[in-house]
Homo-oligomer: 318 residues x 2
């Protein structure tokens, strides 16, 4: 790539940043959280062949690269403010860049999150985003707040992203209509930003499900020093997944990964407040278990029979 | 890599983050700039083969990855607070990781900059850092403030990093002692963080020299809507470079790149204040030219004769 091509790339991402004091184009961007607010920061990289297939349409990749980062803000109950983009590209492909920017910036606009800086270089295809949000001081949802007796809740449905991935990989087959129904879960995840904010003051802990339900619940249990009982059959799933063999349903819902739903806990006394947050955010939530005082995670089915499941969650190093 | 190896990697970077409200280990880190301060943010990626040679010692690479980001904070006059690290690694090499972490965290400690989060993945060797600093509201040094008549200043010396790179590439040869003298400029750049802060209220504009003096001065001229006259012979250089042929000296000092010195402007009435900042920071500064009202950059030598030079600065896409 030449310097001219470098500037060409930047043009796809140049736009006003009304929520920043100073947007891109200087050595730093300047952000000013509102009075009484703390800044929430998260960073996630997507590497070709590890986090996405080379066949994914560019606009969907742009969407997903920001979505997985916004999902971390959602899990903290933070309101999106801005993000930086660091892009390593093997070549300049204007159609690809236009598509990538379109998908990325459409989601950014939807969540009023300004692109305030970045870095572009020639190299293997790696997309790194760092996202900034604000949250009232002391109000962030943490992994460490789950208490014995709390309900365990999950937003949306789990497992479709993994089902789509297995179909892409050829590990199983889905007919065209079913594939079309689950593919958006993998390629166009919707970060639960409004739900996270609505759960401030309600949820005792929260995390987003990126590595699989059991693995991410394990992070909450470890950080909170508690255990849990989970009803494996209560985990919500879509109609396509519900028609698959039981073992595949368990694999996808419990350890699927790439779901970007919110897993959270709340005291039973706050169930009405949880349902109010559900209405405010327009995202369905389902109660799937209970936090226990003793350590460990016990799975049972709808009839209360123990479920044995290897807790091997999605691993980016497979 | 397995999940176990992933956790192993994280151990090298796990440590307290006293300057953050919440450090790593949750979905987001939480930062709270002090009252009246804005948050300065910058991001830079280093890709193997583009920004560093595969032969560079790991501790020096760790140092440089953070140094180039701190240099952006310096150019804004911001005080470092925290950073996130996103690391894509082709394999788990404990000796390499230990060295990388040692170099990275030593520089972080020196500048009291906390590692507050990150992301590790298998993939090509790419290091992405996003750095956060704070600066009093309205006091950030910008590229856009240069005014006609302002002096143009540069910190330290330019060109040694490029000279070392050319020797590494075999484009020229240096004897062992000379090579040892210039190699730290390439591998262990010292971000001018204290100087940047000392120049708040003194410098009218600033930028760090990462792409080469002429290219980076060009950014200031464009952002400020001004031109400049520069004395090419006044640009400070070290004794090894000063013994090289004149054309090589010009190449290295004017368009070398990777210098991470501060290029700044200030009104002549503030020369004493500039020298006070020099003393405060312990970093020498040299006056090398003057901002002009008319557009364009005119180079002359010590005798005032015009110098013709291709303004092709360091390009990460070569």
């Amino acid at each position: 790539m030449s310097l001219g091509e470098f500037e060409l790339i930047e043009q796809y991402f140049r736009r006003p940043a009304p929520r920043a004091v100073l947007g891109g184009g200087d050595d730093c961007a300047l952000l000013a959280p509102a009075a009484g607010q703390q800044l929430a920061v998260s960073t996630d990289a997507l590497v070709e062949g590890r986090h996405f297939l080379s066949t994914v349409p560019a606009d969907r990749l742009g969407h997903k690269a920001l979505a997985v980062n916004l999902s971390d803000l959602a899990a903290c109950g933070a309101e999106p403010l801005a993000f930086t983009l660091s892009l390593s590209l093997p070549r300049v492909d204007e159609a690809w860049l236009a598509g990538f920017a379109r998908g990325l910036l459409a989601l950014a606009d939807e969540h009023e999150c300004d692109l305030v800086g970045g870095d572009t270089t020639a190299g293997p295809l790696v997309i790194n985003i760092t996202v900034f949000g604000q949250v009232p001081a002391g109000a962030a949802l943490l992994r460490s707040g789950a208490r014995p007796g709390d309900d365990i809740w999950i937003s949306g449905r789990l497992g479709d992203a993994r089902l789509a991935l297995e179909a892409f990989r050829g590990a199983m087959s889905l007919d065209g209509r079913d594939f079309d129904a689950v593919r958006p879960a993998l390629e166009l995840p919707q970060p639960r930003v409004l739900l996270g904010q609505a759960l401030r003051g309600v949820a005792s802990s929260a995390i987003d499900v990126s590595d699989g339900l059991l693995g991410d619940l394990g992070h909450v249990l470890k950080a909170s020093g508690v255990g849990a009982e989970l009803d494996a059959d209560a985990v919500p799933r879509g109609p396509v997944l519900a028609r698959q063999p039981a073992t595949l349903q368990r694999l996808c819902t419990l350890t699927g990964g790439d779901d970007y739903e919110l897993l959270f806990t709340a005291p039973p006394a706050l169930r009405a407040a949880v349902h109010q947050a559900e209405l405010t955010a327009g995202t369905a939530v389902t109660r799937i278990g209970r936090i226990a005082a003793g350590p460990g995670l016990r799975l049972h089915d709808a009839q209360g029979r123990p479920v044995v499941h290897e807790a091997a969650s999605f691993d980016h190093f497979r």
